[in-house]
């Protein structure tokens, strides 16, 4: 049985990976959503100063190995998913880091580097499937299916669905039904954050739902198509060389320019390398446009009460500003 850790880039490519592997006929299991136990497991094995999302990843791997007794862990090395930029250094080293912490574990990995061309990028899928004993023809078929589903998924996202809505619709093949928003405040916020910082409900203290229950509507970088955020992020005077930060900054610029948001909430992890810089850059830019920005730094000690107060105060401020 092959285990997928529900952490980090799973919140980007999980659907694609699962569909691909299932269509190859592989027996897969995904670790459950992050829990207290998983976080503790992560803190136990991971290097003590590394960013929390990576620690949580360690926890999921440990959980898969110890509790779910998987035979192998699926862990692709995502170096670059677009030509001009990298992901994050941590993703470049992750398979080796996990192997060092779990020397006995069987890790199924393959390097995905879009900088080397589209062909080699897709070849990586074929190579990966080969490691799992699949024939080339078979893996191409599985890949096409996976890409199709992931395309549908992103279309749903781009049409405005939230991450969980889109996942549900694609998985259950439900028809689109426009949900009518009954908002008391009609405050719109853009949540600029890595997907694993906001979709991991335990770690993010359920931030997105909190926003919703306060009556605000939100939009995330996932709702913005690649070509748009790429174009907008290139407005920075110096090219930003991290893809997910490009996505985040590009989306924010797009929202600001199109007047789609009243404020921006930047959610980052303590000890995150890229965000420590990009948060500053975005704040600097948002100031120029007079768009308020709230920065929330998550770590293992983040407290729910403090979070609620800060978001409420921010929303109140936006409301006052709007009136």
């Amino acid at each position: 049985m092959l285990g997928l850790p529900r952490a980090l880039l799973y919140y980007k490519y999980g659907l694609l990976w699962e569909t691909f592997l299932k269509n190859l006929g592989i027996d897969i299991v995904t670790s459950p959503p992050t829990s207290k136990l998983i976080v503790e497991m992560g803190l136990d094995v991971a290097e003590s100063e590394i960013c929390m999302p990576v620690k949580i990843f360690y926890g999921h791997v440990k959980y898969l190995i110890e509790k779910q007794k998987v035979d192998a862990v699926f862990l692709p090395r995502m170096v670059a998913i677009e030509k001009p930029a990298y992901t994050c250094p941590k993703f470049l080293g992750l398979p080796d880091m996990i192997q060092a912490a779990f020397p006995e574990a069987n890790i199924i990995s393959e390097t995905f580097n879009r900088k080397k061309g589209l062909r080699s990028y897709y070849q990586s899928y074929i190579n990966l499937a080969e490691k799992l004993g699949a024939k080339k023809w078979h893996s191409i078929k599985a890949l096409l299916k996976a890409e199709k589903i992931s395309y549908e998924f992103s279309k749903k996202l781009h049409s405005g669905d939230s991450f969980s809505e889109a996942i549900n619709k694609v998985k259950t093949k439900k028809k689109d039904s426009k949900i009518i928003n009954h908002n008391r405040s009609n405050i719109r916020v853009g949540v600029a954050a890595h997907s694993y910082n906001i979709y991991d409900e335990y770690y993010s203290l359920n931030l997105l739902n909190k926003l919703k229950s306060m009556g605000a509507t939100y939009i995330t970088p996932d709702n913005v198509p690649h070509n748009i955020w790429a174009k907008y992020s290139n407005k920075l005077p110096k090219f930003l060389f991290w893809t997910y930060e490009r996505e985040l900054v590009g989306s924010a610029f797009y929202w600001i320019e199109k007047g789609m948001v009243d404020g921006i909430i930047y959610v980052m992890s303590f000890a995150c390398g890229p965000d420590s810089i990009v948060q500053y850059v975005l704040e600097d830019e948002a100031k120029k446009f007079g768009i308020p920005m709230l920065t929330i730094v998550l770590d293992e000690h983040s407290a729910e009460a403090g979070l609620i107060t800060r978001i409420e105060a921010f929303i109140d401020m936006l409301e006052r500003k709007k009136r």
């Binding site: 991971a46 290097e47 100063e49 590394i50 960013c51 090395r77 170096v79 930029a85 990298y86 992901t87 994050c88 250094p89 941590k90 470049l92 080293g93 080796d96 880091m97 060092a100 912490a101 020397p103 390097t111 005077p237 110096k238 930003l240 060389f241 991290w242 303590f270 000890a271 995150c272 390398g273 890229p274 965000d275 420590s276 810089i277 948060q279 500053y280 850059v281 600097d284 730094v297």
Partner: protein, 382 residues
């Protein structure tokens, strides 16, 4: 226009020398001090890595001293360093120093951008000039670092505490003041002579390797001059990072003498992909040190440094596999000298005790009588 630039160990000598040769005016900021760090910490984003803060402090002090433009190396990622200059430019503007920042992108990745900046700085010079002057400045920089590396190796044998450091300082200032190529070569020979003249004592010196992040390794002020501390405790020291090795486009590093492939191949079983910064070099050099009979390794890294945390996630496995003790020192503005000193002492004791228990075979030990073996590598570079 007067340029200023960060210190980074002896890097300022190299940059200053080159700018002087190209007739560009510049101001070297005051040496990195507590004040530099305070300034940097006050204005930089709180969670940015430590080197960004220190170098920001350098810029501020440079501007205070009269500079009205900055020059800094750029980069193409994936480590934060590539975005330092841009971030610092924004910070400086926020605090009222709206100065132009000239960012030198690596010429291999962005030849045009590099050329444009060069032309802005020295409109009257051609690339041929640059090349000619660069070659000489480069030689000076390599020699300075060879002196440094040599001092690390021989300090442990000095009879009078501090005499090596004194000789090294004299040697470096000789080189600093040499201008023509022949003068530089002569200064180097003289400098080596100064170090050789330091009175030595025969003693057994266990070897300790120092690995880690570029800036922390190069800047003695922020690493508490750990190499000198360990050297004076009687350890033979080598370190993995030198400025000229780092910039050097060729395969063989002029100072450590290791080829790039050698280092990367050594790292491969533990870290097979590059991770930005010096992450893979840290792993590779650790393995090489261990294979060369080093008995302890010190890993220096800034708090939250991405490539080094990746390395630090893997080094415990290496320490376990080869049974070699590692000392990890995470450094930022809150690191106190006292704490570091105690940890260094404890580590030094450990290494010495293991050494005395004769864990290593005799042939891997060195002492001053075998001094023929200790050489600044590749003395004759072209």
């Amino acid at each position: 226009m007067r340029l200023t630039f960060p210190h980074m160990g002896n890097a300022y000598i190299f940059v200053g020398d080159l700018l002087r040769r190209l007739d560009v005016e510049f101001i070297v900021p005051p040496k990195t001090s507590t004040r530099t760090i305070e300034l940097g910490v006050r204005y930089a984003p709180e969670l940015a890595c430590f080197p960004l803060k220190v170098t920001l402090g350098n810029f501020i002090e440079g501007i205070e001293a009269g500079a009205d433009a900055g020059i800094m190396i750029g980069g193409v990622g994936p480590c934060r360093f590539g975005y330092y200059a841009e971030t610092q430019r924004r910070i400086l503007r926020q605090i009222g120093y709206d100065i132009p920042m000239y960012i030198l992108e690596p010429p291999t990745a962005h030849p045009l951008k590099f050329y444009r900046v060069f032309k802005q700085l020295c409109p009257k010079k051609t690339l041929r000039h640059l090349w000619k002057e660069l070659r000489i400045s480069w030689k000076k920089a390599v020699f300075i670092e060879k002196i440094e590396a040599y001092a690390l190796k021989v300090r442990c044998f000095e009879k009078d505490l501090g005499s090596t450091t004194k000789a090294k300082k004299r040697a470096i200032s000789l080189l600093e003041n040499a201008f023509s190529e022949t003068e530089i070569e002569k200064a180097f020979e003289e400098g080596l002579g100064l170090l050789n003249q330091v009175e030595k004592e025969d003693r057994v010196a266990p070897k300790i390797g120092i690995v880690g992040e570029f800036f922390i390794l190069l800047e003695p002020y922020v690493n508490f001059d750990i190499e000198t501390i360990l050297g004076e405790m009687g350890f033979y020291i080598e370190r993995s990072v030198f400025l000229t090795d780092w910039i050097n486009p060729g395969t063989k590093a002029p100072v450590t003498g290791h080829s790039k492939d050698e280092v990367l191949n050594a790292a491969a079983p533990y870290l097979s992909h590059f991770v930005g910064g010096d992450g893979r070099q840290t792993i590779g050099h650790s393995i090489l040190f261990i294979k060369e009979g080093f008995e302890g390794i010190v890993h220096l890294l800034p708090f939250t440094c991405m490539p080094e945390l990746i390395a630090k996630s893997i080094l415990p496995k290496i320490s376990y596999d080869f049974d070699i003790p590692f000392l990890y020192l995470v450094i930022d503005e809150q690191t106190g000298r006292a704490g570091i000193q105690t940890r260094i002492e404890a580590f030094a004791d450990l290494v010495r005790q293991r050494h005395l228990k004769n864990i290593l075979p005799k042939k891997d030990k060195i002492n001053w009588t075998q001094k023929g073996k200790i050489q600044p590598v590749g003395v004759n570079i072209r």
